[in-house]
Symmetry: C2
Subunit: 512 residues, 2 copies
């Protein structure tokens, strides 16, 4: 047994007579005095398994209880050894950000391959190789296959077998789950989080037509099998509203069920088509969002006080749909915009291809220009001393507090107070439009670093308000050319930085 | 006397004893039986003038009445000759578009030089030369000088003289008005409309602090002197809310006064900072808008049923302010977006300059990359057989009608109806964001031409629904490279057009 690694007990016994899911098999693991109740599952071939995720090094004992006659010892003890330094355990949410269980920062730089596991093996292998070389450390993928434009192929395996021509959730397809687990483990070896999508509506097979009871049986099996894997996140849906057959209440019920049956508390969210999910729900750990307006990170942070991940902000590509034909620059621009304000963004790619293999759904190879720029952004953020926190603009403060006082610039004070006041009088659409346009995209790590991004503004100079104490070195960053140039050394207070007057420019000021 | 040209009567008499504005001098002109009452004005130097704008060829008689003893004949008669073919008279609004008085189409392609007439003569001359070579056929400029960043210079002349150190609206500065008229006439010679801004708030001299009575005296003089010029539009304000001293009601009062004192009904609007003016007001002829979201042309057309002109959608340049550092491409993109949907856009340019001469306020020369692309767009629109009308998308129809039925594509019908329904359930901000993102930027001239623009979408192919009868030739237009390439001939019905997969692409289908 090793800290942060799946510990598995395997037993042999007769195949269950009724449901292959609701088997009476559970265990209590006690690690350094902390007890964890674990449910086992039937894995086919007269094999039962119980999986446990040990969070600490120390002494662990367990006791298995089963109504099924099993061969072998039903209790045991092991020394759980400490994880290697490079194994950092599960990702957890805290405040507006994420961290690994061992305390290290985790900055999600995800990508999207919805039907990753539903492709032929050679293609899946190629996708894994591509991911390995990519900057991405999270992948959004579905349990159920996808039916949509460019997704007409039939998968070899499905999550369940059929009984009388109908999916039988009590009869999991073991080959499918073995395959799925294999891919999850491969991702873990590459240090990639698997943001597993449990339901979605792009379906021609009937998985989106489950009754709530069927859905719960499926979730039961999924959690028994998978929840000991540390690199899993639960994304209840891709576009929950598109699963039209599911009433809204079910998603709350699913979250409750997952909460009760996932002893490790994996990250949990629900991704929208139009209407954000109720991220205020206590079981939701972070905001998983579809929206192009990534400039609204601050509003969403403020409303939910949870990490904000734009899991769908449109894709780099050239298909007809407006969500799938961003330029490489525009996707990079959205990443910078969200990340500088302490939010996060997820990549996707949709280039027309004769073989209909588009990365966003099927994987394969990456063709776009954004991934290497995303890697560059990741390197900039990783070298910061901490996570970025959004810095409110004068206008936002004037708006929220009903006015500001400035020491020596009465013109600016006046203007901000006038606009702040008028913003309360105009429609929400007008006000939001103004905040979007005027947003100062600025984040900071305490007083140690300030990062400002100008987006599509072609400013020839830019201002930065640094603390009046300390000495800062200032770099101009070209997010597309991936260059960094030091332009000032040892400065403090309000500085005017010369900028090249083009799109995609950021400025980083770091305390010496 | 000539149709569409200012006809002027000049009289000599003693300087008015009291107000130089409220002089008792008026005339009745009767042209082909149509009577027009005209007020005269004192022009300084013991000179009084009456100006009349004849709209038709024919026989004209006039009678002057005055309480001031004047030298010369107080009644007369003249033959009004027909205008030359190239003189098309005043611009008028009709439906969502504009036309000249002689019936010709007028497509406003404006630019902004707020403090044009408040610069030194050599600079104003240079601005006029630049305008002459430019594609612009409308210029927004202020009567009062501008005080703001890059606008610290003191003009030589102001609209009024001072009495006891205070502006005296009853004592116009005749040299100023002569100079202003000279520039308006120069613009007319270049076929450029002068969108004259009557008030604004960027003021350090006190013109924005007038009482309502003072404002009305000023308007009285302005209308007596200027309203016979055909190439004038009245823009009551630049950013009316920024003139904080003026209560909202005054703007209604001004519009009423202008209506009563401008016998020719020049175009009239009021330009906003944040909150659109009440364009539903019966005296307002068109929507003069400040907003970056030019993609909302259809919503504004639908609400007001008047022409929509984005008179401020931000400027090409590199200054610090987010409204003044668009790339050339982005400004061109906004023009195409607005124009293809039957709206209009106004140019402006703000490049940092050591001499503080920025085109947007002071004129001079144009440095940007957008003007020649705007000229290209203008040429594309001018060759169309008529004005463009926005084509509603399926989604908009589904949203407005509560559902659509499609003949053979139940998947699409389903999707549109589902999204249309959800759009009613989400917040106005979310719904507007979705419409903005999914907007199909498509206009048509009856069935004679269809023009679709993809904006920043990098589509590799695009669809066009043409009528099932007729034969259309289809061109792909690169709005930045200014190229047009015929890609299909004689097609009809639904066509899929191969596109280059880059930003700034339009497709024009014209009936043979």
């Amino acid at each position: 047994m090793k800290q942060y690694e799946v510990f598995e007990l395997v037993f042999h016994g007769e195949e269950p007579e009724k449901s292959h899911v609701a088997v009476q098999l559970e265990a209590e693991f006690i690690l350094n005095g902390t007890s964890t109740a674990v449910k086992g599952f039937y894995a086919g071939d007269q094999t039962y398994k119980l999986r446990y995720y040990p969070r600490e090094a120390g002494t662990c004992t367990w006791t298995v209880r089963s109504s099924i006659p099993l061969e072998g010892k039903l209790c045991g003890e092991a020394q759980c050894t400490a994880a290697e330094a490079e194994d950092h355990g599960m990702v957890q949410a805290e405040g507006l950000h994420f961290h690994y269980e061992n305390g290290g920062r985790y900055l999600p730089f995800g990508t999207t391959v919805y039907a990753l596991v539903h492709q032929e093996k050679t293609l899946v292998n190629q996708t894994m190789e591509t991911l390995h070389k990519s900057p991405f450390n999270k992948v959004r993928m579905c349990v159920f296959p996808k039916s949509y434009d460019f997704n007409h192929n039939e998968p070899e395996l499905f999550a369940f077998e059929k009984t009388d021509g109908k999916w039988d959730v009590n009869r999991p397809c073991f080959a499918f789950w073995d395959m799925l687990e294999h891919r999850i483990r491969e991702l873990r070896e590459m240090d990639i989080e698997c943001d597993l999508i449990l339901f979605h509506g792009y379906d021609r097979w009937g998985f989106s037509q489950f009754s709530e009871e069927e859905a719960m049986v499926y979730l039961d099996y999924l959690l028994r099998r998978l929840c000991a894997y540390p690199n899993l996140w639960w994304s209840m849906a891709n576009e929950y509203e598109v699963v039209e057959h599911f009433p809204k209440q079910w998603w709350y019920d699913f979250a409750q069920f997952i909460h009760e049956n996932d002893p490790y508390g994996h990250l949990l969210s629900n991704h929208n088509f139009l209407q954000f999910w109720d991220f205020a729900d206590k079981h939701i750990t972070h905001c998983s969002i579809q929206d192009s307006n990534v400039v609204r990170v601050p509003e969403i942070q403020q409303e939910y006080q949870k990490p904000v991940v734009f899991d769908e902000c449109c894709y780099e590509g050239n298909i007809m749909h407006p969500w799938g034909n961003l330029s490489g620059f525009e996707l990079v621009n959205r990443f910078w915009t969200a990340c500088v304000m302490g939010g996060y963004c997820t990549h996707g790619e949709t280039f027309l291809s004769e073989d209909e293999v588009l990365w966003w759904a099927k994987g394969g190879i990456l063709k776009g220009e954004s991934p290497k720029r995303i890697a560059f952004l990741k390197s900039v953020l990783e070298e910061l001393p901490g996570n970025l926190e959004y810095s409110k603009s004068l206008l936002e403060t004037a708006y929220e507090k009903g006015g500001i006082r400035l020491p020596d610039d009465s013109w600016l004070e006046n203007a901000m107070n006038m606009i702040g006041k008028e913003l309360h009088e105009v429609s929400a659409v007008r006000a939001q439009g103004h905040f979007d346009k005027e947003r100062v995209i600025l984040g900071h790590c305490g007083e140690a670093a300030y990062l400002r991004y100008w987006g599509r503004q072609c400013a020839g100079q830019g201002e930065l308000e640094l603390p009046d104490t300390g000495a800062y070195d200032v770099e101009v960053i070209d997010v597309w050319e991936m260059t960094r140039k030091k332009v000032m050394e040892g400065v403090k207070g309000k500085v005017t930085v010369p900028l090249p007057g083009k799109e995609g420019i950021a400025v980083l000021a770091k305390l010496r």
